[in-house]
């Protein structure tokens, strides 16, 4: 009995100390906020910067932001996301003290940002997606960047941000105002390609596919002859997420000039939803034929990307529609398991004799906005100028900010505000090609040299660089993108705005309806004609309204 009293009192005392140290926390938290007005008062007289894109504030200013942290990012001893080469650079070169209000692993960034936005407490600079941008504008939380951008953006910044063909700016321009800066990314990297095991092709005596019928023939040969030596082989990899860039049906549909999930101009010049066009029905019918012939795994409806990887890396599947990054994942694992696995990417096949065009991505995925009332909105533009100067500036890449002797440190990941030259990856391929022709990488960009070096190491027998070879090498993934670019075989999504009001309300229903209908058709659980019922339902359940909204958006641009 005595013991339990002792435990009870102990527990209670622990609780009391817990509460009291909590009180202390409150006190300490109170102190910095008390001194905050002083620092800001000291900063305000200096807020008269020259309009030099990379000019330095005489008295350093303090700007807050929020960061996402990649799971592989590491730091040198004593460094952190608050103290590293980039943040020191901002301070020393620009006079901007960048503070991270919060940091979160990249996979959880969107969720955390949603909470921040909903609770009305965002830092000065935020990186958001289009839906979040829309919310910020609706709740009047961010400022118009048009003027600040014009005044402060460097030539390089202006050039980089508009070199994606304007898709980034289209997305962030609301009523003629630039409400955010697009973190431009490649458009062409979103294209589809067919990855095929060249060693299997040779075994079954076929050549690269030109038309969808060729794809079918190859799949049939793979299933019948089982060149991988496994008991069960399938012709084409497919996962439950049928619109995934990897193991999806998109690439095959593009061959029929059907662009599911995208908005493309119809014959009447209006934007129409790709998934509901009659050509989509032909694509689904072809997939159903493939399923009936046993070329598609009947369980694909429950496969996630990991399961698709499993089939591909274990030699059960030798062909899939994918993207350029498959060279890094999961194909190297296939090569590790089977040194004969020679994966080669090809342009997507067409249903007829004309070459097929692939849909590209919408480019920028992130957009930088500035909180309304922030004292120095130009700091965002300057940070972006700074980042691009270090990456693509006239003096070449500033290696202090990108390279380190310890290769596991990815210094580039510390950069808070950045954009990518949309043609960066394709230029790597072109540079590498040039280097191979000249047998030297003299005078080429840093990225080219890096990849050229890796590819040569692979050619010299170092298998760890297989992925680089398959990516930027002579017949690597980027060569397919280069082909698309040269031949103008790219289709752009016609709708680049944030989800419209009806989309927000209805799209989850409509998407489910679409996915279920299409999956059933492929699985031969529903006749191909159920596509027509789907189109009717889609229109009735909000599709017509969405189409109108999308065309209104396009008209307003």
């Amino acid at each position: 009995m005595k013991r339990s009293i002792l435990y009870g009192t102990l527990a209670f005392m622990l609780f009391l100390t817990a509460c009291s140290s909590n009180g202390n926390n409150n006190n300490t938290a109170g102190t910095p906020s008390g001194s905050a007005p002083q620092t800001s008062a000291a900063a305000s007289p200096s807020a008269e910067p020259a309009k030099d894109p990379l000019g330095k504030y005489e008295t350093p200013i303090e700007v807050t932001t929020a960061r996402s942290l990649g799971s592989t990012v590491q730091f040198a001893e004593g460094e952190s996301l608050d103290n590293n080469v980039w943040y020191r650079g901002y301070k020393d070169d620009l006079g901007i003290i960048l503070k991270n209000e919060w940091t979160v692993p990249d996979a959880q960034y969107g969720q955390k940002m949603n909470v921040s936005i909903a609770s009305g407490s965002i830092p000065d600079i935020v990186a958001v997606d289009l839906t979040q941008l829309q919310k910020l504008i609706e709740s009047d939380m961010i400022m118009d960047m048009t003027e600040v951008y014009e005044q402060y953006a460097s030539e390089l910044t202006k050039q980089t941000l508009s070199s994606d063909g304007g898709v980034g700016w289209t997305a962030v321009t609301f009523g003629g105002k630039k409400m955010a800066l697009p973190s431009t990314a490649s458009v062409i990297d979103g294209t589809q390609m067919i990855w095929i095991r060249e060693d299997w092709l040779k075994k079954v005596g076929l050549s690269a596919p030109k038309t969808i019928d060729d794809v079918l023939k190859i799949a049939e040969a793979f299933v019948k002859q089982k060149p991988g030596g496994q008991d069960k082989t399938y012709g084409l990899a497919l996962g439950k997420d049928i619109y995934s860039g990897y193991g999806g049906i998109g690439g095959l549909a593009y061959g029929f000039k059907a662009y599911p999930k995208a908005w493309v101009k119809g014959a009447d010049g209006k934007l129409a939803y790709g998934s509901t066009q009659p050509v989509m029905k032909q694509a689904l019918a072809k997939l159903q034929d493939m399923f009936k012939a046993g070329l598609i795994d009947p369980e694909f409806g429950v496969y996630d990307a990991n399961k698709v990887n499993e089939l591909i890396t274990s030699g059960k599947i030798g062909m899939f529609y994918g993207q350029h990054w498959n060279a890094f994942w999961p194909l190297p694992d296939s090569f590790k398991n089977d040194k004969n696995a020679n994966w080669v990417p090809y342009p997507i096949a067409s249903a007829d004799s004309s070459p097929a065009s692939s849909l590209a991505s919408n480019g920028a995925l992130l957009f930088y906005a500035v909180k309304k009332g922030a004292k120095n909105p130009e700091a965002l533009v300057k940070l972006l100028n700074y980042s691009l100067e270090k990456q693509y500036g006239a003096n070449g890449r500033d290696k202090r900010f990108f390279n380190s002797e310890n290769t596991s440190l990815n210094l580039y990941a510390y950069d808070a505000v950045t954009a990518q030259d949309p043609l960066q990856n394709i230029n790597i391929y072109r540079g590498v090609k040039k280097a191979f022709e000249a047998k030297s990488d003299e005078g080429l960009s840093f990225d080219v040299k890096d990849n050229y070096g890796s590819i040569n190491k692979y050619l010299a027998g170092d298998n760890t660089f297989w992925a680089s070879y398959k990516w930027a090498g002579p017949d690597g993934a980027l060569s397919v993108e280069d082909y698309y670019d040269q031949q103008k075989l790219i289709v752009l999504n016609g709708f680049l705005g944030a989800p419209t009001a009806t989309m927000l309300k209805k799209s989850s229903t409509l998407d489910t309806l679409e996915l279920e209908t299409f999956t059933k058709i492929i699985l031969n659980a529903a006749p191909v004609d159920s596509f027509d019922t789907f189109v009717d339902n889609w229109k009735k359940l909000g599709g017509d309204e969405i189409t109108k909204e999308v065309n209104d958006w396009a008209a307003a641009k």
Binding site: A18, N22, W325, P332
Partner: protein, 295 residues
């Protein structure tokens, strides 16, 4: 004793064993699979060659997980939160359940107080108001944000309250006659009698604290302050590789999507609770049998 020899009874017993054994196996197999993957080589795991026995045995993924500063930091945060949370939750549960287990004539506003607590089960402020309260109290980014918002587990209070009510009133009355006050009755009689219930609640609370991840995500501002499960969620969910654009990023892809390190971290994170279970289970099985003999 006699009925055991009946043939039908034996068949029934065996059917029972087979059924329960099958159910146990269903729970166990996924765990063994994760364990096998964690000990396997990465390319074998990706290709799905690993079933219940490691292929290409290696400890590399454990080395990776245990060398990762973030894993260790999060582990410690989780331990801290379980200990603090268990102490706070248990204390408050006991202190609230005891008075509420009394009858209306002993405790005048009993039902009012009871409703005061029960209402929080039916209605919550929601995510954003909760976040704003924690923010305004300056608790963001401290361990208190993880333990104070759920300091009173009302459901547990109700369980304990009912358990205390089921105990014979005469015990308490005898104690009062002997001159004990409410404090002594609580700590000397009510709590010791409720040990089986308390062990169950402790297990609920520990598992709950150990497994919750969403509060860590919204209340913590730095990954190194994350509890283990929040960190684990960020490791385990699949990222869309289309989001990765530069060649530097692409080169990290295979590392991010590595099944074996994920499995190792999942297993390490599940281990403490797996170890806790047998110790507490003993208590409540004992409690149940004791009760049944007395009835």
């Amino acid at each position: 004793m006699i009925y055991k020899n009946v043939y039908g009874r034996r068949v029934f017993d065996w059917a029972n064993y087979v059924f329960l054994g099958g159910a146990a196996l269903l729970c166990l197999l996924p765990l063994i699979h994760v364990l096998a993957v964690s000990f396997s080589s990465s390319s074998a795991a990706t290709a799905g060659f690993v079933k219940l026995w490691p292929v290409g045995f290696t400890l590399a993924s454990y080395e990776y997980a245990l060398m990762k500063p973030q894993f260790i930091a999060s582990f410690l945060v989780s331990l801290e939160r379980v200990v603090l949370g268990a102490v706070i939750n248990m204390t408050l549960t006991i202190l609230i359940a005891y008075p509420l287990s009394k009858e209306g004539r002993q405790f005048r506003w009993r039902s009012l107080y009871a409703w005061f607590f029960v209402v929080t089960i039916l209605f919550t402020g929601g995510l954003i108001p909760g976040f704003m309260v924690v923010k305004q109290l300056n608790l963001l980014d401290t361990v208190w944000a993880l333990v104070l918002p759920g300091a009173v587990p009302v459901f547990n209070v109700i369980l304990l309250l009912n358990f205390m009510r089921s105990q014979p009133k005469e015990l308490y009355e005898a104690a009062f006659v002997d001159g004990a006050g409410h404090w002594s009755v609580l700590w000397r009689i009510a709590v010791p009698l409720a040990k089986p219930a308390l062990a169950t609640l402790l297990l609920f609370i520990c598992v709950g604290h150990w497994n919750s991840w969403f509060d860590g995500l919204i209340y913590m501002n730095k990954p190194e302050h994350y509890p283990l499960q929040t960190y684990l969620q960020s490791v385990v969910i699949n990222r869309d590789p289309s989001m990765m654009t530069t060649s530097e990023e692409l080169k990290t892809l295979s590392q991010i999507s590595d099944q074996t390190t994920k499995a190792a971290q999942i297993f390490l994170a599940a281990l403490p609770i797996l170890l806790l279970y047998p110790f507490l289970q003993k208590h409540f099985i004992q409690g149940i049998t004791l009760g049944s003999v007395k009835e």
